[in-house]
């Protein structure tokens, strides 16, 4: 792993921007956006659930794009970036799935509905990426691990938009459409609130990605320092891990 010490740069301002945007989003959600005529107060979940799902899916695609950079350059820093992007997207995806499930219970009376294409397709994407970490863990050699994981990330990342388009093209669906290609069906105040929430969640994703990258790079830097100062024997072997080493 090449010496990289700049990941922490800008983390403070990014965290501040995230806090302000999410704070503003919460104020808009609960004090500005009107109650939905059909769903009432339950619709407030959408300002959280939909951005979490969108950012999660984008995170998977970003993970795939970063994996392409890894395969093109052979530089393992791209593998680490891709790994953290997918890891974060999984966490956000789980958040999106749970909040969506809570909305489904409040709105439809069921925690889960199997005949709803959007829900099931999202679950398929999430389960697909849930195999990413076990796949990495099953490969002991770090070089092979990063290469195979990158191939998986690219294929699975390409599956995300295909899956999204397929669901959109499906004739029958009952999932509410918050945003459409025509600009959305939301009134102005709701659209503004939704967009601020989306930016807030996207910033949170970027902040946590940077936070984890900083932590991992600091750990690598400490190991490098130990190797340089005390020699190879002074560094304890990492052991089998799903994370890039």
């Amino acid at each position: 792993m090449p010496p990289t010490t700049t990941y922490g740069k800008g983390l403070r301002s990014l965290a501040l921007a995230t806090t302000i945007t999410i704070g503003l989003a919460l104020v808009l959600i609960f004090f500005y956006a009107p109650l939905d005529a059909e769903q009432g107060f339950v619709q407030k979940i959408f300002y959280l659930h939909v951005p979490l799902a969108i950012v999660s899916l984008c995170g998977f695609v970003v993970g795939g794009a970063l994996a392409i950079c890894h395969l093109r350059t052979g530089d393992r820093k791209w593998d680490l970036r891709s790994y953290v992007a997918i890891h974060m997207a999984l966490i956000f995806g789980i958040g999106g799935l749970i909040t969506g499930s809570i909305w489904a219970k409040a709105s439809w009376g069921h925690w889960w509905v199997w005949n709803e294409p959007t829900l099931v397709s999202f679950l398929i994407v999430l389960l697909l990426f849930a195999t990413y970490q076990p796949l990495r863990f099953s490969i002991e050699d770090p070089e092979r691990q990063s290469r195979y994981a990158s191939v998986f990330s690219i294929v699975a990342g390409a599956f995300v938009p295909l899956n999204f388009i397929a669901v959109r093209l499906a004739a029958q669906y009952v999932h509410p459409r918050v945003l459409t290609l025509g600009g959305g069906q939301l009134p102005g105040s709701m659209r503004l609130t939704f967009l601020v929430s989306l930016v807030g969640i996207a910033l949170l994703y970027a902040t946590l990605w940077k936070y984890e990258m900083t932590a991992k790079n600091t750990r690598f830097a400490v190991r490098r320092l130990r190797r340089t100062l005390l020699g190879e024997d002074a560094v304890r072997p990492v052991g089998r891990s799903a994370a890039p080493s």
Binding site: H49, G95, T99, I102, W103, A215
Partner: protein
Amino acid sequence: MSTLLAAAPAIPLGESGKFVAGAYIVFVVLILVYVTIMAVRAQRIERELAELQRDVEAARAGTEAEAERAREPAL
């Protein structure tokens, strides 16, 4: 703040309010769990750094003692 609260619509804390609160609590808990895990990792890095500092100082003390012994005239 009081003006903002006065201008805000009444929040229905009935059946639907319970679900909305649940969804937002899940989000906060998820972030808290993540931050806690990262805090534990940060502590581990701190421990490793302290250990490295100790080892480097011990190695330096060893080298200095060796150099001192080399300077001493043989009897």
